[in-house]
Each structure stands twice: as structure tokens, then as C-alpha cells.
């Protein structure tokens, strides 16, 4: 029977290398998510404010993120800005910049949605108690909004992780690239390794993302 | 001769351990208007839902014209055509116009030709004063108007019995009247109805028979509605009626 690459998978340090590649993807997503959540909270609050100019700017920003493929953004940042500004940006830094740019927009919009979902009377009764704007948000509004936000932000993590597979296109060695390298190296000995390895990569992504999305939908139901 | 149209025998309904209706018997004769009253949570609405097989029942049976009505029955859709029902919340189909709402069932379920069904629909809409709203959507109507359309939508199927489930409970007071007038008109023309309501004056005016339900049991039943409302026989009914006085 022709081997489908499972032998290659466990040859030498191959499996560990794959896991290492997966960690690269996860690391980039986690850093980007943390940045996105922090900036997104600020952006969401500003979007519910009254400043028209700021609102217009955010609208344009959201629309750009909505219609520009992340891959295009990666190329623009990694190849474009390095050329225009002459700086030296590592692939990882570019990836984190792009994913945070994207995540902040998504998060900001989610925060805005959660904030306007809270009835007006909550703001008014807090203000009637003499709270400052900061107090109103910190003590009354955000604690309520956070419940709706947590499941949605968890979903954002899985989407980040899935999108990180694109960073191989700007030369990062993540799990998909590692798989390609292993397949290349064993082309002679195991010509069909592509099947086993890509299947394993697919399952690896699934093994990470599936539990996280289950958690998100569980929380969403529970806190609905 | 047996004049019974609807026969409910030993009806038992429970949600898990919580018993809603227990060993309940009730008969509705042809042309009779039976009004069910009772405190909130006494099982009035559940009773109507069981009659229309919208609920699973745990015991007993519901017979319409001698035929058993149950969720499991293969021809439950055919039996439901004989039972018209109007709900408390305005349940018109929001994506269809008033006329389409009324025509949907006669055309799709009874396969009646459009021209004939439409003629009847317009006649019925005219009777409830809404013929000129035929092309509006439900959202453009007031609550009372929507309820009148819901009644028309049930009537056009020529049901043998009409179930009305607190049809005025969600309406503004000034709209209650227009809906109840329509129902009074139906009673005069001899329709068979089983009505659940909180409108005591209406119940007194329309009922051939009053049933007082509490805790899943029929506590009192009277063929003399005037007498019942003036001087109920049981202490429980007396207490209940007193809550409507100030």
C-alpha cells in the first residue's frame, strides 16, 4: 500500500516542527487579539460619542477593513511601507500590525454594538446619581456590555488563528510552511506525503479552533 | 340526539412534574358559546392549545365530531382546518399583505380557486370594516385591526369551532371594543366558540355557558351566566370575581 505520509509525520522531529509552526500562528493571534481588545474598547466608546469627525473617520476605517482582504493588507504593510518609509519591518511585526488593525476595527464595532444595546435609562439613572462619565462607563455600562462581548471576542480569537495561515505568504515559517518544507524534503522517499501532512495541519487547526468556538457559543447561550 | 361538537374527556396536561390540567371534562355543543375564565396560570390558554393540538397531552383525549385530535395524528392538519384559532399576540404573517394573509390558507391548504377565495375574503374583510386595507402590511395596522384580520383569517376556513385565546389582552382599551363587537356578531350568527377572556362584561354578554377554571380543575360551571356573575355558587369564584371590583 502506498504511504500517505503518516510515516514522514513521525520521522525525526517533524511532528515537533509542525507544532512549533502552529505555535507561531497562535502566538501572533494572541498578541494581536490582546492589542485589538484594548484598542477596540477605546474605539467602541469613542464611536458612541458625539464627535462627528471621529465617527466619520471610524466609518471609513471600518469600511476599509470590511472590504480589503487581509492578504492585501499584509502585502501593503510588509512590501509597501518598508519601501516607502524605508524602515525594516520583520514579517512577524507586519503580521501583528495588520491583524491588530483588522481586529481593532472588528472589536470596536462589537463594543459599539454592545454599548448601544444597553438601554438609555441605564446611562441616565447613573448620571442622575451624580456619576461622572468615566464612572458611568466603568461602574455601570461596561460590566453589562462585557457579558455580551466575551463570547464575540472569543470568536475573534478563532478567526485570528485561522487568518494567521496567510503569514506564510510574507515569508514566515508557520505550520503550513513547515508542512510544505517537510513534504519537499521527503519528495523522493514519500511522494504522497502531501496528503497526510496537509490533513494533519487541517486537523491541528480544527483541534485548536473548534473547542474555542464551542466555548464561545456556550457562553453566548448562557449569558444571552 | 347528541348535539356535542367538541368533547374533552379526562384531559391531563403537565410540563414535567408541573400539572396544568387534571382530569378535565368539557363539552361544547353546536352553536354554543362557552367562555372560560379564571386567574392567571389556571390553565385556560393551555386548554385551548390542547384542543388545537399545539401541545402534547399526557392523558385523556380531545374529540371533534367524534374524531380524535392529537399532535401525533397523521391528519392533524386536516382536523385543524375545522378548528379556527385566534391568539393573544397579533400573529399575522408580517411578510404578507392583509389580503394575502387571509388568502394563504384557503388557497394553499384547501386549494380553493383564487377568485372565489378572494371574493369571500373581501366580503369578510368588509364585514369587519377593513376592506380598504387589503393591500396594507400588518405593521401598518393597529392592534385591534390586526386582531380583526386574524379573526377573518380563521373564519375563511369555515371552521366548525372557533377558539379565541385572550384576543383582547394585548390591546389598548379603546381597541378592545371594536374586536369584541366582531365576536358578538359571530355569536349572533350562530358560530360555535370556545373563548378564554379577562373581559368580564364581555363574558357576561356573550356566554351561553361560563366555566370557571382554577388550578387545572373546573371549579364551577353555569348555564346561567347572568346568575353566575351576580352570585356565583362557589366561594373561589366569588373571590375571583371580586378582584375585578374596586
Amino acid at each position: 500500500m502506498r504511504s500517505l505520509g503518516l510515516d514522514v509525520l513521525f520521522k525525526g522531529k517533524n511532528f515537533l516542527r509542525l507544532l512549533g509552526g502552529l505555535w507561531v500562528a497562535v502566538r501572533i493571534s494572541l498578541i494581536s487579539v490582546v492589542i485589538s481588545i484594548a484598542l477596540g474598547l477605546v474605539m467602541g466608546m469613542l464611536m458612541t460619542g458625539k464627535n462627528r469627525v471621529l465617527k466619520a473617520v471610524f466609518r471609513v476605517y471600518l469600511e476599509i477593513v470590511r472590504i480589503m482582504p487581509q492578504m492585501v493588507l499584509l502585502f501593503v504593510v510588509y512590501f509597501g511601507t518598508t519601501r516607502v518609509f524605508g524602515w525594516d519591518l520583520s514579517p512577524e511585526a507586519s503580521a501583528i500590525a495588520v491583524f491588530s488593525f483588522w481586529g481593532t476595527a472588528e472589536m470596536g464595532d462589537l463594543v459599539r454594538g454592545a454599548l448601544i444595546g444597553i438601554p438609555r435609562i441605564q446611562y441616565e439613572s447613573a448620571e442622575a446619581l451624580g456619576m461622572t462619565t468615566a464612572q458611568v462607563y466603568l461602574q455601570v455600562i461596561l460590566p453589562q456590555a462585557v457579558r455580551r462581548l466575551i463570547p464575540l471576542s472569543i470568536n475573534l480569537i478563532t478567526r485570528m488563528i485561522k487568518t494567521t495561515s496567510l503569514v506564510m505568504m510574507i515569508g514566515m515559517v508557520e505550520v503550513l510552511k513547515v508542512a510544505q518544507q517537510i513534504i519537499e524534503a521527503n519528495r523522493k522517499a514519500s511522494p504522497n506525503a502531501a496528503f497526510g501532512l496537509f490533513a494533519v495541519v487541517l486537523l491541528m487547526y480544527f483541534a485548536i479552533c473548534w473547542p474555542i468556538s464551542r466555548l464561545a457559543s456556550y457562553l453566548e447561550k448562557r449569558w444571552a | 340526539m347528541d348535539n356535542a361538537l367538541l368533547r374533552i374527556e379526562h384531559l391531563h396536561k403537565a410540563y414535567g412534574p408541573h400539572v396544568v390540567l387534571e382530569d378535565l371534562d368539557l363539552t361544547v355543543d353546536r352553536g354554543e358559546v362557552v367562555v372560560v375564565i379564571g386567574p392567571s396560570g389556571c390553565g385556560k390558554s393551555t386548554l385551548l392549545r390542547c384542543v388545537n393540538a399545539l401541545e402534547d397531552i399526557q392523558g385523556g383525549r380531545v374529540l371533534l365530531d367524534g374524531e380524535s385530535v392529537s399532535r401525533q395524528a397523521k391528519d392533524v392538519a386536516r382536523l385543524r382546518q375545522k378548528i379556527g384559532m385566534v391568539f393573544q399576540s397579533y400573529d399575522l404573517f408580517p411578510h404578507k399583505t392583509i389580503l394575502e394573509n387571509v388568502l394563504l390558507a384557503p388557497m394553499k391548504v384547501q386549494k380553493r380557486p383564487r377568485a372565489e377565495a378572494e371574493a369571500e375574503a373581501m366580503e369578510l374583510l368588509d364585514r369587519v370594516g377593513l376592506a380598504d386595507r387589503r393591500d396594507d402590511y400588518p405593521r401598518q395596522l393597529s392592534g385591534g385591526q390586526k386582531q380583526r384580520v386574524a379573526i377573518v383569517r380563521a373564519l375563511i376556513m369555515h371552521p366548525e369551532i372557533l377558539l379565541l385565546d385572550e384576543i383582547t389582552a394585548a390591546l389598548d382599551p379603546e381597541m378592545v371594543h371594536e374586536v369584541l363587537q366582531v365576536v358578538l356578531g359571530l355569536a349572533k350568527s350562530g358560530s360555535t366558540m370556545l373563548i378564554v377572556t379577562h373581559e368580564m362584561a364581555f363574558a357576561r354578554a356573550i356566554a351561553d355557558r361560563v366555566v370557571f377554571l382554577e388550578g387545572g380543575h373546573i371549579v364551577e360551571e353555569s348555564r346561567e351566566p347572568k346568575a353566575f356573575f351576580d352570585k356565583p355558587a362557589t366561594e373561589r369564584a366569588r373571590q375571583f370575581l371580586r378582584t375585578f371590583e374596586y
Partner: protein, 219 residues
């Protein structure tokens, strides 16, 4: 900026746009068909089938399109299933986005209050009639914002096609940069062409959304 270069690249970009749009819309059509079928299967709780559908949705929603595409294009031939890049692209997009469409339509179906089903049933309609005449039309109009978002998502995701050597916008840009090193010009064109492709969809989507909301909730 070298406008002479830009002018000479333009025809290549238009071709690439054509290809991207073609694959994209075939993918959308496949995804919509698949999405409706899957959502209906789940909603009506068809035995066995519904488990298969649920598995498909989970698998495709929780893995990256790029990896799915690699699997279709590089791995399947090893067990004898060979497809052209174009077929791969349409299939990959359709399968991925079908899973998202299914979720969107399913939640649209679930958002219809049970009283709608009950009042239709009390008029004597069968389960199928209730579903076709009452539930589905309402669910579809409620799903429109989600469906439009999915279409945009799907058209965006076409950017990964370049990896299976389909000459889409991304591929063309990469190719030209590699050959002539006019990075800025090529990237600018890339951004502009994605705008040309997706801005109209986005605008159309919000118009459609507003109209439908108007139809449901009134003037």
C-alpha cells in the same frame, strides 16, 4: 509613481479581476445553495443527515481557507482526486462559505417566533407548507445582512487563490512585483482593484438591508 508602468499593467489587472469575479460568483452561488440545503436540514431535524451537516459546518468553520485549499489542491491528487485550480477555487470557496451561509440562515430561521408556526398550523397547514410559505420567506429577509457580509467575506477570501496558481488579482500583483520590482505601483493597483470589486457589493448590500428593514418594520 511610474504611470507608464501602471498603464502597461492595467490590462493584466482587468483580466485578473474578471477571473476573480467569475470564480467568486460561482463560489457564492454554490455557497448559497449549500447553505440553504444545510440550514433546512438542520431546521427540520432530518435524522442522520443533520449530523453530517453539523460535522461539515464545524469542520469548515474552524479551519482556514488556505489550508482547505492546500488540501483540495495538493493533498487530494495523492489519493487520485485531481481538480483544476479553477474547480478547486470554486469548490473551496463554496464549501467554506456554504458553512457560514448555513449558520446565518439557520439563525434567521430560529429567530422567527413560534407563534408564527402555531398560527399557521392552526389554519391547517402541513409542516412543509408552514415552512415554505411562512417561516422561510421571513427567515431569508432577516438573514440578508448576514448573507451580504458572507458574500463580501467570500469575495475577499479569493485572495488566497494565488497560492494554487490561479491568476487572480493577488497572483498578478505578486507576479509583476517579482518581475519588474515596481512594488508601489503594483500594490496601489491591487488595492484599487479590490475596491472596484467590493465597494459596489458593500454599498448595494447596505441599500438592500435598509430596504428590507423598511419592509419589515414599516415607514
Amino acid at each position: 509613481m511610474d504611470f507608464e508602468a501602471i498603464r502597461s499593467y492595467l490590462p493584466l489587472y482587468w483580466d485578473a479581476l474578471g477571473l476573480t469575479v467569475r470564480i467568486g460568483w460561482q463560489g457564492v452561488a454554490l455557497a448559497l445553495a449549500l447553505g440553504v440545503l444545510c440550514a433546512v436540514t438542520l431546521h427540520l431535524r432530518l435524522p442522520v443527515l443533520r449530523r453530517l451537516v453539523a460535522g461539515y459546518i464545524e469542520l469548515f468553520r474552524n479551519t482556514p481557507l488556505l489550508v482547505q485549499l492546500f488540501f483540495l489542491y495538493f493533498a487530494l491528487p495523492k489519493i487520485g482526486l485531481r481538480m483544476s485550480p479553477a474547480v478547486c477555487g470554486v469548490l473551496g470557496l463554496g464549501l467554506l462559505c456554504g458553512a457560514y451561509m448555513a449558520e446565518t440562515i439557520r439563525s434567521g430561521l430560529e429567530s422567527i417566533p413560534p407563534i408564527q408556526t402555531e398560527s399557521a398550523q392552526s389554519l391547517g397547514m402541513t409542516r412543509m407548507q408552514v415552512f415554505c410559505h411562512v417561516i422561510l420567506p421571513q427567515a431569508v429577509s432577516r438573514s440578508v445582512p448576514g448573507l451580504v457580509a458572507n458574500v463580501i467575506f467570500l469575495l475577499k477570501e479569493t485572495s488566497v487563490f494565488s497560492t494554487v496558481s490561479l491568476m487572480d488579482l493577488m497572483f498578478t500583483a505578486k507576479d509583476l512585483i517579482g518581475m519588474y520590482a515596481k512594488t508601489m505601483e503594483c500594490l496601489t493597483l491591487l488595492v484599487v482593484f479590490y475596491l472596484i470589486m467590493l465597494l459596489p457589493v458593500s454599498v448595494l448590500g447596505s441599500l438592500l438591508e435598509r430596504r428590507l428593514r423598511h419592509a419589515e418594520f414599516g415607514p
